[in-house]
Symmetry: C2
Subunit: 323 residues, 2 copies
């Protein structure tokens, strides 16, 4: 009786939507998890240590608490990503804290005293001031779910508009392992669960990257194109999402002792003993099958395949591998 809902179960058959209604019962097929497990080695892409950010929190009731973040590749958010690299190289976050946890929204970390000029920790030199225009990129070789990533993105077809409905953009897809939204002119990363963004003050401030947050609830896609995303948590998100919620306005902790201390944040090239990771290439046949299975679950548990899935409900698989 307590088997389900079961995220490990699931199944895939990329049947056209029009066929689904005619089936009394779905055909059992591999689950999304089984497709990922069966993906050939060639479909996985190693994440370079230079693209990892390793955050060690103070130990908790269960022991060590390590959060690993993958930084976004070009062309997205590179001004902020550059700042984050500088802040990590300067060991700037060491001794700071997770100071805000708002239910169904974000966990945020950095300098809890950052808004008080007298108490704020000085930032390292050389950080870029990135303009708002960098929240989006010109349309490039983004890959909608249905198509491989081959050169500059053509204008959306009527078919694409029909098959890729999205409340927040003309369409969505994956770009080199990352969820993106786009229209005919531009593309931008999307605020899915565990994505990491740059907190900021009012416009035209865009944030330096010193104050970061991660999404711990339903995707707040209204933040797309309004805040820079610099990466995603690929391990340890549960260490942030299960923290006690702050009782102050917007989930800020009211007492300093409620904050979770940050011991250190290091780039993968400097962090001691971190794991190695791979993501499933979003241009691979395996990913296409996995995404189709997420959109139409056909394992024995499911009786009504959905016929689709939103971009944030098809997370890009990431796995640990031997270094």
């Amino acid at each position: 009786m307590r088997l389900l809902p079961f995220a490990l179960a699931g199944a895939a058959l990329a049947l056209p939507v029009s066929l689904m209604a005619e089936e009394a019962r779905p055909i059992a097929a591999p689950s999304p998890g089984q497709i990922v497990e069966g993906a050939p080695k060639a479909d996985w892409v190693r994440i370079a240590p230079t693209d990892l950010l390793v955050m060690d929190l103070a130990p908790g009731p269960r022991g060590a608490r390590r959060v690993v973040i993958q930084l976004m590749p070009p062309p997205f958010s590179q001004g902020w990503v550059g700042n984050v690299r500088k802040l990590a190289a300067a060991h700037w976050w060491d001794g700071l804290s997770v100071y805000r946890v708002q239910d169904n929204y974000v966990a945020q970390w950095g300098d809890a005293e950052g808004e008080d000029p007298k108490r704020a920790k000085a930032l390292p030199g050389g950080l870029a001031e990135v303009p708002e225009s960098a929240y989006i990129q010109p349309a490039t070789d983004c890959s909608p779910l249905e198509h491989n990533c081959q050169g500059p993105m053509p204008p959306l077809t009527a078919y694409q508009r029909q098959t890729s409905p999205d409340r927040y953009a003309e369409s969505t897809g994956y770009f080199r392992g990352w969820p993106v939204a786009y229209d005919a002119k531009s593309s931008w990363p999307t605020h899915c669960y565990a994505m990491v963004g740059v907190a900021r003050d009012l416009s035209p401030n865009t944030g330096s990257g010193a104050e970061l947050y991660t999404v711990i609830g339903h995707a707040p896609r209204q933040l797309d194109r309004n805040i820079a995303l610099i990466g995603r948590v690929i391990e340890g998100i549960e260490l942030l999402s299960s923290l006690p919620r702050g009782t102050g306005a917007a989930g800020f902790y009211e007492k300093a002792e409620e904050r979770t201390p940050i011991v250190s944040v290091r780039l993968g090239t400097e962090a001691a003993g971190h794991a190695a990771y791979e993501y499933l290439s979003t241009e691979s046949e395996s990913f296409a099958r996995y995404a189709a299975a997420r959109a139409n679950r056909r394992d024995p548990f499911f009786i009504a395949p959905a016929g689709g899935a939103d971009i944030c409900n098809i997370p890009v698989p990431v796995r640990r591998v031997k270094g």
Copy 2:
């Protein structure tokens, strides 16, 4: 620098989407929260104590832990809702536990030993076996976002299909305070954050209602029409969403001592000292303005209104009131 992303901020102007691209900067306007705060008393609907389920967990580090659930009204899921009322009246959950917490998915409670016939707690008599056909309802007077709820739902217009894209259904809307999806023939409640569902075994089992879960991550809409939803957590969801994640498969706790004990579950008519609640009528003008503001944030923080919002990103406002 740490102001945002700020869920309390926001703004509303129900401009057509076509106008948005021409604006260099949005016009500051009331936030969704301000619209809700300003809604007249007449736009709020009292939740009857007969529709409340009050779950007291064992006290935690911060003291008492009370979770309040609102049960779904007709016509949805009434067979299961009836079972839940019987289970609460029999005090069946007293002494059981929250035994599964899976990150970005669900927290689940009931009888952790329910799968072992020798150790399972006996269910009260008189529970209904509800058929799978009850996962959906014939199309009724559902209210898509753009229209009030007036009699039987007409077939979807081309305009509705165009303005209400959804990955999981032909359209979405609100029915007497609840998020629903629908097509021309049927409608069903949606798996949004904090919705409460009935765990079950493989089809044709539909679950009794004894084992319940609530959504604590991005909306797993693939479960729509596959599992019964019986209500939503209207207070205390953070007490479930911040529990430590289970380290067993699918987030089950591996050790009994990791479970969170349930002291009691009572219907509102029997629970001692519970609060009273109201929800914002989804047929009200205030709700229409609130939803439009969620879809197009225009307070000073936002520089690019999204132009839309998915059904699970427009939660129905609920507030405590004096009993």
